[in-house]
Symmetry: C2
Subunit: 477 residues, 2 copies
């Protein structure tokens, strides 16, 4: 029940955790840092997975499955990679009652095991490009965990592609970043910034990392997906060469890209309110909840018959719905329950509605009751659902715009992050020292170096040196 949830203005972090537990998206598991994704949360993940999977296949990718156990020696083959991931590894030392000769790592990401296989699969330019994606569970030993945002185990997809040229691999890197942007905007109704990460923030083993960044309800940034151009780093570490069309032997070029169950946390923090979740129709486990109301058996018969009409119309309009006709709960309890769970649209129907040939409809995001005729209710619902999807996106977009500021003086910058914060568009000279000092003094980091640059010179927000690069700073998850 929503009365149990702390207000988001009071304590955003408590609001987030309580909301996830009470709406039954997830629960804490008995193992440190692990979570259980409950049916309501998993149904959202299935919708995300299915939508992304269609987009991956439409861009020529196939799914495969690689082992979760990786020999320890593999992780060590790429120098930057091992440096980045060592602190987070979980290690299997015993199997079948015996100590293993070589410890096995639980995959923190699969570049190494996948490139050890690509060595056998790639020989000629005719084997390229190789465009593979994997849906899998990942283990990273995190110190501070948070439901969905950072957990020891999480679910994700990881694309791993191999190409004959650097240009083709770079194109692929950006193509998949754009697929992520399209997905988050069109399905999650969550606007994102796209751009390149600074050197200090890039993936361990990448030549360049690109990201989509979203603004959460507390104005902090969340990295929602990344796409990496890996150059020939993994091909060299695993000796993956191919015979080119010109009959030369060359190392293969690589990309990798991923999004995870973290997106569910982003979804919660982008749209939800103090009454509970607000889910965009395209990712809600179902779009519409019907709550029938009756007091006598006679009324029940009447209302149930009337429901037949409504359901028929919803079905032909392709609206997904459920009828909550449980007898042990009052209508008021059910209203709260489905508001808490974020179902986009509610229909209430009682004996009076039957007489008037109408029904009551409530949008989850607006909470206002409107009366609609039963005739054509399927089409009408579809229209309203489309509007909700659009409105949620526009609202989130306006929120991001309202909380994004061009800032050119460091005093203003510090003040910005002392007060409400948000995204700061500021110039940066490119030096890691300035980047680090800003972080130490304000906790804000460079989220992306946007592709679209204003094209005007400025001065570095920290050192004041002339700069041609505008970057977006924010505090982040």
């Amino acid at each position: 029940m929503s009365k149990g949830i702390t207000g988001k203005e009071t304590d955003y972090s408590a609001w987030y955790n309580e909301l996830i537990l009470k709406s039954e998206l997830a629960d804490y598991a008995p193992v440190k840092g692990c979570m259980v994704i409950r049916p309501h949360g998993y149904a959202i993940w299935e919708k995300m997975r299915d939508a992304l999977d269609v987009m991956f296949k439409a861009t020529g990718h196939e799914n495969a499955y690689f082992p979760m156990l990786i020999p320890e020696s593999f992780i060590k083959k790429e120098a930057e990679h091992v440096k980045g991931f060592s602190p987070e590894l979980a290690v299997v030392t015993h199997g079948g009652g015996k100590e293993l000769e070589e410890p096995l790592i639980l995959r923190p990401t699969s570049e190494t095991i996948i490139w050890s296989m690509y060595k056998d699969w790639i020989h000629s330019y005719r084997d390229l490009p190789l465009l593979i994606n994997q849906w899998a569970n990942i283990i990273r030993w995190e110190m501070r965990t948070r439901l969905f945002l950072r957990t020891t185990e999480f679910l994700w997809q990881e694309g791993h592609t191999a190409h004959a040229t650097a240009e083709e691999a770079e194109e692929e890197t950006l193509r998949m970043l754009n697929v992520y942007k399209t997905f988050t905007e069109e399905f999650m109704a969550m606007p994102v910034l796209t751009g390149k990460k600074s050197e200090s923030q890039k993936f361990a083993g990448a030549v360049a990392t690109y990201a989509i960044e979203a603004m959460m309800g507390d104005k902090k940034a969340l990295q929602a997906g990344t796409s990496h151009y890996l150059g020939q780093n993994f091909a060299k570490a695993f000796d993956v060469k191919f015979q080119s069309e010109e009959n030369k032997e060359e190392y293969v070029y690589a990309t990798s890209w991923g999004v995870s169950t973290r997106l569910i946390g982003a979804l919660v923090m982008t749209h939800s309110d103090n009454k509970g979740l607000v889910l965009p129709p395209k990712l809600s486990p179902f779009e519409l909840i019907i709550i029938p109301i009756w007091k006598s058996d006679e009324e029940e018969t009447e209302v149930r018959e009337f429901l037949g009409k409504i359901e028929g119309s919803l079905k032909s309009a392709g609206v997904t719905y459920k009828v909550d006709d449980r007898k042990n709960y009052t209508p008021g309890w059910k209203f709260n329950e489905w508001e808490l769970k974020g179902i986009p649209l509610r229909i209430e129907v009682g004996p009076r509605d039957v007489k008037e040939n109408q029904l009551v409809m409530v949008r989850r995001d607006l909470s206002e009751k409107v009366i609609k005729p039963v005739e054509g209710i399927g089409e009408e619902s579809r229209k309203i659902l489309d509007t909700i999807q659009k409105d949620l996106f526009e609202k989130a977009k306006a929120f991001m715009a309202d909380n994004t500021k061009k800032i050119s003086s460091y005093d203003d910058f510090k003040e910005f992050y002392k007060s409400g914060g948000g995204f700061a568009e500021s110039h940066w000279c490119g030096s890691p020292e300035c980047e680090q000092e800003v972080q130490e003094e304000t906790k804000a980091t460079i989220r992306v170096i946007p592709f679209e640059q204003p094209g005007e010179k400025g001065s570095c927000i920290k050192c004041g040196k002339e700069s041609e690069t505008m970057v977006v700073f924010a505090k982040s998850y």
Copy 2:
């Protein structure tokens, strides 16, 4: 290329392994006993998963995800369970660079972690039944592994349900066994026997285990799926009680049931031949392969235009297909390639066909060429694909019937397993000693105690005592 595959009559096991590697269903991974499921194999798994998932949801189940790491102490809470699984456990002893206080087990199955959560989720009869399924990876440290059939890591689904009464749980156990039977027969075109397992063969922690058993091409049995009635064993181990409608406190009743990527191995061994895989249309990554043939640019233009008609017709009939227009390979090479990969139906189309407004069609399971008019080719293909699906099932059913024998003398029984073998329908007195002696002397085990009994008394195949129970013996995977 199929010329590289050992004949199944020569060495069934070599045929099986080579077929899987060459058709690119899977590959050996660098970790002992693990495999990589390649795109062609994973696409089949996706089809299986999607079909089963629809059936699980239609019977009221929801998906969720539980952690893969299980505290060692959990596994030990159910006495039989720990005894059964101890030899197969992989153990994580280090995380984040430190030794763990309590080692973590990689799930060999999830009863323990799931019932530890059910304790928090189930309080009243109103919380029941709880019908949850999980799609996940599983680790069992196997001594002898075999691609798909027995691997250290495999993919599966595991249903875990909780009920207020024993009757309801038992009903669920059999309902899901039947879902498996429907799936294997209707989608895999693989007939199965259903029945109960003997005490010696049941799941560690179950009251009763039921199974579907199929006959492979070498007449050995393969356990293709199991459904367990767990009684109150796990509820007691994890103290999961509920308030009944009569206000009494009682332990919850449980079931669990699963099928795995092992089914892909079963699919291979049920239908394939010395030329490669034979896939039933309902589980083939796509149903039809089109191979266009041309020698000049002019012919290419002509044939490509003609292809438009064919594709249009296939699309409107909902037939899934691919066009193999790669330029680096000859038509003959492509025929072999797609035969090896088991695509059910092939269309060949060249300049002569364009002139005659026809095409050549070849069923993978029959290999005979027929000429068909282009007009209505979509509908015609759909009809042929339906026929293939049916024919494969009938052929497998006849094979099983031909190799199933009622045997009442132990001499005949021993002779049966010295020669070709198969399924023996024989009487069994019910003693574990007879069961074990038969296994030691013939390697045949009791696969199931069938639900449908002939209803006539007989004598135990081993000791000759009077028996009311007919069982099915076979050598097995």
